[in-house]
């Protein structure tokens, strides 16, 4: 774990900004905890991959994005959807497979989309979103609209062949795409050192001339700063950029993962020493940007949003049986 640096660049980060990050990260965490609870109650079925621990990655990068920029990710996607402004109720109702879900209950946890928020999924096949993301950037370049695409994938997907096919074409065609490698150190249950011959994934673009850097993914401010640099590179027409964001997943790979491949102490240590939400909370308090009461009010507000989302996801009816046969062809 590299995320031991707890210093902050608080001097040039406003109180409002910090509070915004705190709120956004807390929303993801509380949402995911609730999703885990609903899964335990049998209200969510199948696969459900929680984002707890990785919140700073997506919140930091969303802070670097502009309206119209696109994002695409894998199946661990709830955090990305909440961070780009998709309705928590619609996300949760998709998890419960209800009519009010963002895919009308037909996609589930791993397959959600929002044209309005420029969120292009939610993809269940490891690595598939990487060329798809470069394709979104291809369209942006073709249309000359100045947009960039954040293409998220994990340390596991980073070993997929299609990733390198994509790096080659993205560099060749100077596509405005940021490859965000969320390195949470475990590809399902396989530790990075057991699956990956060269540990510095951010250097994997060198062969294609793609610049890359590693980022402390437990520090939302570091992520945002790196994101801004990458965005500027892409928008200037210089082609793709790689960010390897070092992060950590507190929960199992999916809900049915007993997580025997790592010790409880390892998880506990990250939680206690590097938690991204605690870090911002500390900055807010020590910098006198907020009082305990201010933060309690935010906590309460988030809890309310998440409870409402959960209520909606339970109350929304199952999709009409007619839905079985719709949306197969446009």
């Amino acid at each position: 774990m590299t995320a031991t640096r707890k210093t902050s660049r608080k001097s040039n980060t406003s109180a409002e900004e910090l509070k915004h990050y705190y709120r956004e990260m807390l929303l993801i965490r509380r949402f995911e905890e609730k999703a885990g609870q609903l899964y335990g109650m049998g209200l969510i079925g199948g696969f459900c991959h929680l984002y707890i621990g990785q919140e700073a990655v997506v919140v930091g990068l969303e802070a670097a994005a502009e309206e119209g920029d696109k994002r695409i990710t894998s199946y661990r996607d709830h955090g990305h959807m909440l961070a780009c402004g998709m309705e928590p109720g619609g996300v949760m109702a998709e998890l419960t497979g209800r009519e009010g879900g963002l895919s009308k209950g037909k996609g589930g946890s791993m397959h959600m989309f929002s044209k309005e928020k420029h969120f292009y999924g939610g993809h269940g096949i490891v690595g598939a979103q990487v060329p798809l993301g470069a394709g979104l950037a291809f369209a942006d370049k073709y249309l000359d609209n100045g947009r960039v695409t954040f293409t998220y994938f994990g340390d596991g997907a980073a070993n997929q062949g299609q990733v390198y096919e994509t790096f080659n074409m993205a560099a060749l065609w100077k596509l405005p795409v940021i490859f965000v490698i969320e390195n949470n150190q475990y590809a399902m249950g396989t530790a990075q050192k057991r699956s990956t011959s060269s540990p510095d994934i951010y250097t994997r673009g060198e062969a294609f001339g793609i610049p890359g850097e590693t980022v402390d993914g437990m520090n939302v401010l570091s992520v945002k700063e790196a994101g801004e640099k990458a965005v500027a590179h892409c928008r200037a027409g210089k082609g793709p950029y790689i960010l390897e964001v070092k992060t950590y997943r507190y929960r199992g790979h999916s809900m049915s993962d007993p997580a025997k491949y790592r010790t409880r102490e390892e998880v506990q240590k990250v939680r206690e020493q590097s938690d991204p939400i605690e870090m911002v909370r500390e900055m807010l308090l020590s910098g006198k940007h907020a009082t305990e009461d201010d933060l309690k009010a935010i906590d309460k507000e988030i809890k309310e949003i998440v409870n409402q989302a959960a209520e909606f996801s339970k109350e929304s009816p199952e999709p009409s049986v007619d839905e079985l046969w719709t949306d197969i062809y446009a």
């Binding site: 696109k70 798809l132 942006d140």
Partner: protein
């Protein structure tokens, strides 16, 4: 206010489990993320974390208890100063189960009742172009290029991508001249990486473009099939109708000549199986042109299966402003009364030759070109079988799970009473394609075999 902790479902299939071990005891304060207990599921032993904060007021299920049903209250969490007894009496224990998931699969899938003798199905017999349209002899190659070029002139979002499509002018010269007309922004050479460029093309379709992806042959599309099926065909459904994928995957399919096993496979039956895809496999140049124009305009992903041997063959192509042939409409090439022969793509060559020879023997064969396999114009086939009472299907692909076996099963279910003989499905042989010329000939379907099949079903 007390909170009940319920026995969690910790795998997609868990209905009950063993409460192996409590890691907290009554009176302990817990916060979100603390491990409360170890639970044995049907798959593994899992740690169970707290979601809410509070004090463990009472443990309701002792450790070591087996067969604890999901959603059974296993402990009670109370707040500071709250009495356990008061909480117990207030807790709506019986309600817990009401929050459980609704029983899945309550709606049994509607199995269609067997239909004994249907009324004649509705068939679209309208002509594809005016009968008096002037005709010009064109090759399939020219027809394909004209179709793509016309659609690219009409819509800036359409572009062509693939190996050797631009500077080389197409490995099979289908895109000849297109780089000159449309430039390198819209006619794009790719590296030889089907998986990657198919994914990029699908992503660009999500992003608002209308790609035409040329696979040098469909054999190589197997490297890209995940994007064709999982990314292109399923996204509209998975997104609840929000995000479609207007894309055409095209290229030669099936056996060429003497290129052996890895380069000689017919994928018609593979792609035909996938809901969300449309599949065309035309025979004549006019249909290549009209269907390609439809495919490019279609908002759905289309698999367009061409044939290398047909590329150089000439057919009459109607000279109309906008030749568009709809998907899902078969073409009757030859009317007949004694037997129906159904084929598509290069199979039509054997079907038509056989019909000609059979006419000499006094057997009148009706020959139907399906043109598209998904949607498939089964009404035209069934209508014909109701007249001829006999059916032979012809294709180059392998026998097991063939296009013909699907047609045979549908005809059997929908028009059983009209059949006077078992249906024969003529296919390629059940072997990888050999290289040796004599063996290759044996592996392919032949006109002789079609003639023999027709004689068998007509008892001649």
């Amino acid at each position: 206010m007390a909170t009940e902790i319920l026995m969690p479902a910790l795998s997609p299939t868990m209905e009950e489990g063993t409460l192996a071990k409590w890691l907290v005891k009554e009176g302990d304060t817990v916060s979100s993320g603390d491990i409360l207990a170890e639970i044995e599921t049907d798959k593994a032993t899992m740690e169970f974390e707290a979601v809410d904060e509070g004090i463990v007021g009472k443990i309701l299920i002792a450790e070591g208890t087996e067969g604890v049903k999901v959603n059974t209250p296993i402990a009670l969490l109370v707040e500071e100063g709250e009495s356990v007894d008061a909480a117990l009496s207030a807790a709506p224990a019986a309600d817990a189960g009401n929050e459980a998931a609704p029983a899945g699969g309550s709606e049994a899938p509607a199995t269609p009742a067997p239909v004994a003798a249907p009324a004649a199905p509705k068939v679209d017999l309208s002509p594809d172009w005016p009968a008096d349209a002037p005709m010009k002899s064109q090759t399939v190659r020219e027809a394909l290029r004209d179709a793509m070029a016309e659609e690219m002139r009409a819509d800036e979002a359409v572009y062509l991508m693939g190996e050797e499509v631009a500077e080389y002018q197409g490995a099979y010269k289908i895109s000849q001249g297109m780089l000159d007309e449309f430039g390198s922004k819209r006619v794009i050479d790719t590296p030889i990486t089907e998986h990657g460029f198919a994914g990029i093309a699908v992503g660009s379709a999500f992003g608002g473009l209308k790609p035409i992806v040329e696979f040098m042959t469909f054999n190589f599309a197997m490297q890209a099939i995940d994007h064709i099926i999982n990314s292109a065909a399923k996204t509209l459904y998975m997104s609840g109708g929000q995000m479609g994928c207007p894309i055409v995957f095209r290229g030669p399919n099936g056996a060429a000549a003497r290129v052996a096993a890895q380069h000689s496979q017919d994928y018609a039956a593979w792609y035909m199986q996938i809901p969300g895809l449309k599949v065309a496999m035309p025979y004549s140049a006019a249909d290549y042109k009209g269907l390609m124009k439809s495919a490019i305009r279609d908002p759905n992903p289309v698999i367009f299966l061409e044939n290398e041997i047909l590329y150089g063959r000439s057919f009459d192509v109607p000279q109309v402003d906008d030749l568009v042939v709809p998907f899902g409409k078969a073409r009757i090439w030859r009317e007949g009364t004694d037997v129906t022969i159904v084929s598509f793509g290069i199979g039509m060559q054997y079907a038509l030759e056989a019909a000609e020879r059979l006419a000499g023997d006094g057997i009148s064969a009706e020959v139907i070109d399906l043109r598209t396999l998904r949607p498939m114009d089964l009404p035209t086939v069934i209508n014909s079988v109701m007249k001829t009472n006999r059916l032979v299907t012809v294709e180059e692909g392998w026998p097991q799970g063939s296009v013909g076996s699907y047609i045979a099963s549908e005809v059997m279910q929908q028009a059983f009473d009209y059949l006077d003989a078992p249906i024969i499905t003529c296919t390629g042989k059940d072997v990888p394609m050999p290289y040796a010329a004599n063996l290759e000939k044996l592996a392919l379907i032949t006109t002789d075999e079609v003639v023999a099949a027709v004689k068998q079903v007509t008892y001649r």
